[in-house]
């Protein structure tokens, strides 16, 4: 396998590798708690839906302003938020189940994004938008990621308690506080924000993988929420690092390499994880 030096050397030697690593680690750290809460709230699909939803916004941004970070970000943010908002609104007004309403919205967004790109007829590669390239993280993008991940960790710490109760027992929270809907709103906004900043680094669809796979895998390692989030962040960082190395040494596309490493870690967790993993007998009630 790789010699120890080879684990560090590409990052030491090349600026673009260093940026990609740093950006990826930031992203893994800030999306981990979001992914864990998405799973707990049974909203695992929303990441996928929002990631597709970002596309028309980013395409519009590209059409008007070219390949500029602020335009792509604002476009993606607007489209992602309105996607999530529209789906939630339809659910609330008509009682259509949330997953169905998301599943209905995201082909619409994806198709409009592809359509806009087609009309614009410019060089922006759809594949690049969807699958991205971690190796293209430049200075401004990295700064953006730093701000976004710092802000989302801070905001998550602020809303942690109400969000936890709103997830576990919304009726109880409603009787003691009005913070539930606010926490939910801030949380959704953070999800969109992270997906938007992430799609420029590793692509809209791949960042969903980085958000959900470590979160799903962490469930096999602990029963305590803070530990779950830590493990998810750790697994995410590990995927970024190993994925980038694989992509460097074997000339693989970086986004898929990262996500596939995360996928591998997920499958390992399913098999070997101590909490209800396949190789463990279901724990006895009295043994804990």
């Amino acid at each position: 396998m790789l010699a120890t030096a080879q684990l560090w050397q590409p990052f030491h030697e090349f600026v673009f590798m260093r940026r990609a690593l740093l950006g990826g680690l930031l992203l893994a750290g800030s999306t981990a708690p979001l992914g864990v809460f998405l799973i707990l709230r049974r909203m695992s699909l929303i990441g996928d839906a929002v990631a597709h939803g970002i596309l028309p916004g980013a395409a519009l941004g590209f059409w008007f302003a070219g390949l500029s970070l602020p335009a792509l970000t604002i476009g993606g943010l607007g489209a992602g938020l309105s996607m999530a908002g529209l789906a939630a609104w339809i659910t609330r007004r008509t009682g259509l189940r949330e997953d169905a309403s998301l599943a209905a919205i995201y082909p619409i967004s994806l198709a409009s994004g592809v359509l806009i790109l087609g009309i614009a007829g410019k060089r922006l590669d759809l594949l690049h938008l969807l699958f991205g390239s971690a190796l293209a993280v430049d200075g401004p993008t990295l700064t953006g990621m730093l701000w976004v991940s710092g802000f989302s960790l801070f905001a998550m710490a602020l809303i942690y308690k109400p969000l936890l109760l709103d997830t576990l027992d919304p009726l109880f929270l409603q009787t003691v506080s009005r913070l539930g809907p606010l926490a939910h709103g801030v949380f959704l906004m953070l999800v969109v924000l992270n997906l938007v900043i992430g799609f420029q680094a590793i692509g809209a669809l791949m960042v969903v993988g980085l958000m959900m796979l470590p979160a799903a895998a962490s469930r096999f390692w602990s029963r305590r929420l803070p530990v779950l989030m830590g493990i998810a962040a750790l697994l995410g960082c590990l995927s970024v690092w190993l994925g980038l190395l694989l992509s460097f040494y074997y000339s693989l596309p970086s986004g898929p390499a990262i996500v596939l490493v995360a996928g591998g870690l997920y499958l390992l967790s399913v098999v070997f994880g101590p909490v209800h993993g396949l190789l463990r007998r279901p724990p006895l009630l009295t043994s804990q």
Binding site: F172, R178, P283
Partner: protein, 222 residues
């Protein structure tokens, strides 16, 4: 304490009962009984402000936030949620300012009160239905609110748990708190709760438990 004026509730366009006018004074202990689907739980949610009435209104002389505690039915809870019993119970401190020292004392007291000592670190997943129910009741007792609404508090409780429950209900009643309890166990209602609100689609009746339940033997439901 609780005044319902021409209150109608249920799914939009389908009120469950004729308009309800009822007054439950401060310090009263009232059972709510009725068949499945008659709207007992929904009535409790409307009183708690968790659901909008279709018409009419509910007037409480205490604020809804902080002065009211509500015990929902436990199937609302995700049993896989990764927190421990102690964290669940400690959520009852929401909005209460206490020093960490006092918090620990209060927490230990209610855990003992509800026979939960030793289970503090258990994840929700590993609790039995009765243990979870007692944890929810313990969480509710931390808040010490003047108004207590309980939706089927006896569900999943064994004999010991039920006697604990009734002991606490009588204690809270004796402290002058107002209680409304949705309960299916008519024998227990007769024995423990002085007045009963019977919910029926033909009209609701408020009366003494012994009379109402003797008159309505056919309302014996599971």
């Amino acid at each position: 304490m609780i005044r319902c004026q021409a209150l109608r509730w249920g799914a939009p366009g389908q009120p469950l009962t004729p308009a309800l006018d009822v007054y439950l004074p401060k310090g009263s202990l009232t059972a709510v009984i009725g068949a499945n689907g008659s709207g007992k739980s929904s009535l409790l949610k409307v009183i708690a402000g968790l659901q909008r009435p279709l018409a009419g209104n509910v007037i409480l002389n205490v604020p809804r936030k902080g002065a009211l505690s509500f015990l929902p039915q436990q199937q609302h809870l995700d049993r896989q949620f990764p927190i421990s019993l102690q964290e669940l119970v400690a959520a009852g401190f929401w909005g209460i300012k206490l020093s960490p020292e006092l918090r620990r004392q209060h927490l230990n007291t209610v855990l003992e009160d509800w026979c939960l000592s030793g289970l503090e670190q258990r994840p929700l997943m590993a609790l039995s239905g009765g243990e979870l129910q007692r944890a929810l009741l313990a969480r509710l007792s931390l808040a010490q609110t003047p108004l207590v609404l309980l939706d089927e508090p006896h569900a999943a409780l064994d004999e010991l748990g039920q006697s604990l429950l009734w002991k606490h209900i009588h204690e809270w009643h004796a402290q002058g708190r107002t209680l409304v309890v949705v309960c299916h166990d008519l024998a227990a209602v007769r024995q423990h709760i002085p007045q009963t609100l019977l919910i029926k689609n033909t009209g609701c009746v408020l009366g003494s438990s012994t009379e109402l339940i003797r008159q309505q033997p056919q309302t014996q439901v599971a």
